[in-house]
């Protein structure tokens, strides 16, 4: 073949191999150490970070610092809500710090879960109001001020957008009962009524 064709072939091959290697960060080989760990997490959370049952939260597009903090909290058992004890204490017990970083990185790069819809428009609108304005009468600040205008999360403040509404509801209740070691959220959430929590959870699942 002629020189141009050869250059084209080399460039094409480089792009293909480079593309595959770049893709590999998002798609670890199933038999690699990260791949095997992702398979295990994926049993409940989905290998793409999207879970079926709301017992298990979506991890896709979750902020990496938040995933790291939670895995460490499961490992040292400072997060002690019922499902943490039943599932995650065992799961996290043998994870090393580099593995935790790798998993946080992997799931944070997964495409965000699609919006769900588990409530009517009135409830979702009510939830949006709580999310964007807070509840000033009870000194509850807007959730958006820490979790982002679109609930996309910020550093250790987790992404809430697209999360299962029943999971969000349960976490607020668990935080209100101080079963999770989350002093900032406990201060914020302790005045929320169940009706407000349900509304904001429904809104967050829908975005």
């Amino acid at each position: 073949m002629n020189q141009n064709c050869l250059i084209g072939l080399i460039v094409g091959a480089t792009i293909y191999i480079g593309g595959t290697a770049w893709g590999a960060a998002e798609n670890p080989a199933p038999d690699s150490p990260l791949g095997r760990t992702v398979q295990t997490c994926g049993t409940c959370h989905g290998t793409n970070g999207r879970s079926v049952s709301p017992t298990f939260p979506n991890l896709a597009a979750q902020t990496a610092p938040y995933i790291e903090a939670q895995l460490k909290a499961f490992k040292d058992q400072t997060r002690a809500d019922p499902d943490a004890q039943a599932y995650m204490w065992g799961m996290a017990a043998q994870l090393s710090d580099p593995q935790i970083s790798e998993l946080a990185d992997y799931f944070s790069k997964q495409p965000a879960p699609p919006p769900g819809k588990s409530a009517g428009p009135a409830m979702i609108a009510r939830g949006r109001q709580v999310f964007e304005e807070g509840v000033p009468a009870r000194q509850i600040p807007p959730c958006a001020s820490c979790h982002g205008a679109h609930a996309e999360g910020m550093a250790t403040f987790p992404r809430l957008a697209g999360q299962h509404a029943p999971y969000l509801l349960k976490q607020i209740l668990v935080i209100q009962n101080a079963l999770r070691n989350a002093p900032v959220m406990h201060g914020v959430a302790k005045e929320l009524t169940k009706e407000q929590i349900q509304a904001v959870a429904a809104y967050l699942e829908s975005i």
Partner: protein, 443 residues
């Protein structure tokens, strides 16, 4: 089967893998299909200089114990086994009914086992029980990225009872009722793939391969050969129901999960050729039992409420090339049909109840289902039919996830062909109604 061995190995509480033990959640099914190897405890490792792993052993063995203590009361006391005309003691306490020891968990990377050794309080004997060893690997195929790729587990199972390797609770080994009296009378007949008198049970050894695709499609093919514990070895005419050659067993299932629900539908079956034995040499013509079965399982696992429906239908064709010749069957072929439907409810895995309907119907056969008012009291069939139907009702209380207190009532509207005087000696189906109290603890 729920064993604290798995809790010790995984560090996860029972509720992760079980609704109420021994029934499995979707995650529990995944754990079993992955080879029982998910571990979160220290491993003792070995590798070669080429970095090939030679050992991955749990530093602490995943061992556990199970204890069942029970009380059985039948509607009418059973006849004394020796003193003519007398009745045996009304009500039987078994302490224990059963005590089991388990190694259940990882043996090496990708290779795990469920091994049960059981002391039986009725037989006063100790021996092997349900055992399943399996090797399983993950594969991905198809698709260009994570969202379109398919995941598959391929596995091999070596086990000692058809359906012990199954992960749904509709089949014999792990089906409802999950526990029952070992002294109350049971119907005269059951299919080869059912529990009860006619089932293959643990008289076989099996080797199978399976695939579990995208956590929804299950396909398995296994072969079973005769493996009878005790008695004459090599197996000879003094044994009974000895599988001839290998019996092919198959299992297909499709599971769909959404929100907190899972629904699976499936089919399974076996073609078992057997020498009847029982005094006849293990040569020449064989009986052939072809079981074709369908099953369905629905689970809802909520925050506080758990709900399960189990259903199975087994159709058995019986071709008696051997038993017809040696006088054990009146017909050269018969059929046996079995239907079961169960509904279960539990509140916070603490308090719950179940209701299971059962119905077995079959051909009239005077030699297969004989009657004798003297020699075959309780176990005979005046109508020469196996038809038995009724329900099992249970109430369960679990003060802790590993302890079950159960009240069970089995009611028969028909037993061995009839409702009244089914054995020709005056026993009615309702005389076999059973009240069963059970304390079941695992640790």
């Amino acid at each position: 089967m729920a064993v604290p061995s798995f809790a010790r190995q995984t560090g996860m509480a029972c509720a992760a893998c079980h609704t109420v033990f021994p029934e499995l959640t979707p995650f529990g099914r995944e754990f079993k299909l992955n080879g029982y190897v998910l571990d979160n405890i220290k491993q003792i490792k070995g590798i070669t200089t080429e970095n090939r792993e030679t050992l991955s052993l749990n530093a602490v063995p995943p061992l556990s114990v199970m204890l069942q203590i029970s009380y059985t009361h039948t509607g009418k006391a059973l006849p004394d086994s020796a003193a003519t005309g007398a009745l045996a003691k009304d009500g039987d306490v078994l302490f224990p009914q059963q005590a089991s020891f388990f190694y259940a968990g990882k043996i090496a990377d990708n290779f795990g086992a469920f091994i049960q050794l059981t002391y039986d309080g009725v037989g006063d004997s100790f021996g092997f029980d349900n055992t399943d060893l399996r090797y399983a690997r993950h594969f991905s195929f198809g698709g260009t990225d994570q969202s379109s790729q398919h995941s598959m587990i391929l596995g091999v199972t070596v086990n000692n009872s058809p359906t012990v390797q199954d992960v749904w609770n509709t089949t014999a080994a792990w089906g409802f009722p999950f526990s029952g009296s070992s002294v109350a009378p049971g119907p005269i007949a059951s299919a080869k793939l059912d529990a009860g008198a006619g089932g293959i049970g643990q008289n076989a050894a099996g080797l199978g391969v399976y695939a579990w695709i995208d956590s929804s499609i299950y396909a398995e093919f296994s072969i079973y050969g005769a493996a009878i514990r005790g008695g004459a070895h090599p197996l000879d005419s003094t044994q009974s129901s000895v599988i001839h050659g290998v019996s092919p067993y198959w299992r297909l299932a499709y599971e769909h999960r959404w929100d907190r629900n899972s629904l699976s539908v499936g089919t399974y079956g076996i073609v078992a050729k057997e020498h009847p034995g029982n005094g006849h040499a293990l040569q020449g013509p064989v009986d052939r039992f072809t079981d074709t079965a369908a099953d369905m399982q629905y689970q809802f696992i909520g925050e506080d409420h758990l709900f399960t429906i189990l259903a199975t239908y087994i159709h058995e064709n019986q071709k008696f090339d051997a038993s017809f010749l040696n006088g054990a069957a009146q017909n050269s072929s018969d059929t046996l049909k079995t239907e079961k439907l169960v509904g279960e409810y539990s509140y916070q895995r603490m308090i719950g109840g179940s209701l299971g309907l059962f119905n077995t119907t079959g051909s009239t056969d005077a030699l297969l289902y004989p009657a004798d008012p003297v020699a075959l009291q309780v176990v005979g069939s005046l109508a020469n039919k196996p038809d038995s139907r009724g329900y099992v009702a249970e109430v369960n209380f679990l003060p802790w996830l590993n302890t079950k207190l159960q009240l069970q009532y089995v009611r028969y509207s028909k037993f061995n062909g009839m409702s009244n005087n089914y054995d020709g000696a005056g026993r009615n189906a309702s005389d076999n109604d059973t009240l069963y109290l059970l304390g079941w603890v695992n640790f």
